[in-house]
């Protein structure tokens, strides 16, 4: 069962490799498109960086999906990664907790520091890293277990509590932080899969929070949800930033504008522009960012 659980946790979004191959095809036409790119525009660096990534290149076999991306992610900030499909934003996100390790043909180059420590160092245990850097996926993926056990799973395998009372407390606190406790407190032993889509996603967030991570990576966390469930997730992101650093990949520009303090725009594997979200959505500096956020890509 544990093996299956890990598999579920590490499940890669379908089509990721295919997307990467598509990126490579697009890259070959880059010159023809005459993209004006010499370096990232804006402020890729920040003070108080939680993550500092330098010259990150990612390859799927011989196809390069990420080109020389350097970006800092500040502590307790919400940063949104936006860009067209296949631009490399999810690939970059998955570098931050070494989820790309699960793809055999994937190779990551460059430096990724979490609190000044190289997360790709050979002595770094990826499982422990993923406890510090949790992840929430596009589609809610609760384990086929009770609501309680979904949240208790991480603390149990990482040995975060010493007795049942402590575990109960941690499960309750995590569900409260995820804004789900009031809705499920009377049915904690009911299957997690029986919840609505929005509740399942908040359960997954509670599961992530339960192992007390420092960073939460969110890969389109609300794209499968209705507007009310989406609003609840966005409200939750706003509350969670007090305690966590959040990196969110989203296709919804309005969502990026609503939830993030900084926005990074990726295009064909390159980080084109990064800056204050207010500036990006009112007066972007790069023409490609402008074209993307105004819907001018044909």
């Amino acid at each position: 069962m544990v093996k299956n659980m890990n598999k579920a946790l590490l499940s890669k979004p379908s089509g990721l490799v295919e997307q990467a191959l598509k990126v490579n095809k697009q890259t070959t036409t880059e010159d023809a498109l005459n993209i004006d790119y010499t370096a990232t525009v804006g402020q890729p660096n920040c003070q108080n960086a939680k993550f500092s990534t330098q010259n990150v290149n990612v390859y799927y076999a011989n196809n390069q999906a990420i080109h020389d991306v350097s970006l800092d992610i500040g502590a307790h900030e919400v940063i949104a990664l936006i860009g067209p499909s296949g631009c490399g934003k999810s690939t970059y996100l998955r570098c931050l907790n070494r989820m790309n390790d699960t793809i055999d043909i994937c190779r990551v180059e460059g430096q990724i520091l979490l609190d000044q420590e190289n997360i790709y160092h050979q002595k770094q245990d990826p499982v422990l890293l993923r406890a510090r850097v949790g992840m929430v996926f596009q589609k809610p993926n609760p384990f086929p277990k009770s609501i309680y056990d979904n949240v208790a799973y991480g603390p149990r395998i990482h040995g975060l509590t010493s007795n049942k009372a402590e575990l109960d407390e941690l499960v309750e606190a995590s569900l409260i932080k995820a804004g789900l406790f009031q809705e499920v407190k009377d049915r904690l032993q009911a299957p997690g899969t029986g919840l609505s889509g929005g509740q399942q996603q908040r359960l997954c967030i509670a599961r992530t929070i339960a192992v007390q991570p420092e960073v939460i990576l969110m890969d389109e966390p609300a794209s499968a949800l209705d507007p009310i469930a989406t609003a609840k997730i966005e409200e939750l992101i706003n509350e969670l930033k007090e305690n966590f650093t959040i990196v969110i990949v989203t296709h919804s520009m309005q969502q990026a504008a609503r939830v993030s303090q900084r926005t990074a725009y990726f295009h064909m594997g390159r980080l084109i522009e990064v800056g204050d979200t207010n500036q990006i959505f009112t007066n972007p500096a790069h023409e490609l960012t402008e074209k993307y956020i105004t819907g001018r890509f044909g």
Binding site: M253, Q254, A257, F281, T282, N283, P284, A285, E287, T289, E290, K291, I293, T294, G295, R296, F297, G298
Partner: protein
């Protein structure tokens, strides 16, 4: 950021909507400009009929403002515009307020001038008011040109020139006040002329606001309440 391909969106309907609000804005600006020309003609001819024409056409500009406001609101609700599209909508919503007030000022002038025309009041100051009006008209036309061509440099030049209008108004108003002191029995007609001059200066101010909206739209910089020479240094 100088990408203003308002016709390059993936959604052709969105292209049409943005083009339409631009076209309607320029039409509204043209209408206000025409009203000011009518005021100038009315002053030259001392024509009560022309003054009445101006008063009767005021509603057209008001309706244009309402229609454009509604269209902008609809675009915000349906399209959630961003970047230059958002700045276009904001600039349009602000500019139509200024244009509507320009229309109001021309009506106010027609209202003030009509009794003077009726009693055939003649004064040497009509000539000076005409000169101020011509200057304001040129200023307004250039501001609307800057808006039509999205020409931030022209907009800044015109915003700077508003100072000349203010200076001319101050001088003219000084003369009119002296005249009122000298001929207390003619305070009322000269007060009307003074208020006309004030309306012209206000139109100059609204044209300047339009220029500032153009700079915001084109450059993404809010240059209100900023020294124009500093703005020019920063942006060009």
């Amino acid at each position: 950021m100088e990408s203003f391909d308002f016709d390059k969106h993936t959604s052709s309907e969105y292209n049409t909507e943005l083009e339409e609000i631009r076209t309607h804005l320029l039409k509204m600006g043209g209408k206000a400009e025409m009203q000011l020309r009518l005021v100038i003609d009315a002053m030259k001819q001392h024509s009560v009929d022309l003054a009445n024409d101006i008063l009767s056409q005021g509603d057209d500009i008001d309706q244009m403002e309402i229609d454009l406001d509604q269209e902008c609101t609809r675009i915000i609700a349906r399209r959630q515009p961003a970047a230059s599209d958002l700045r276009l909508i904001v600039a349009v919503m602000k500019s139509i307020t200024d244009i509507e007030r320009i229309g109001d000022e021309t009506e106010k002038m027609a209202d003030l001038l009509k009794p003077l025309f009726k009693r055939n009041f003649r004064s040497q100051y009509y000539g000076e008011i005409d000169q101020l009006a011509q200057q304001v008209l040129t200023h307004l036309s250039s501001s609307l040109n800057a808006l039509a061509r999205l020409d931030a440099e022209l907009a800044i030049t015109m915003a700077k020139k508003d100072q000349l209008i203010d200076a001319r108004f101050d001088a003219l108003n000084g003369h009119l006040i002296k005249r009122m002191i000298k001929s207390p029995e003619q305070v009322k007609p000269y007060l009307h002329l003074s208020q006309c001059a004030q309306s012209l200066a206000r139109i100059g101010d609204h044209a300047k606001n339009i220029c500032e909206n153009v700079v915001y739209l084109v450059m993404g910089q809010d240059v209100r309440h900023t020294d124009i020479d500093e703005v020019r240094k920063q942006l060009f």
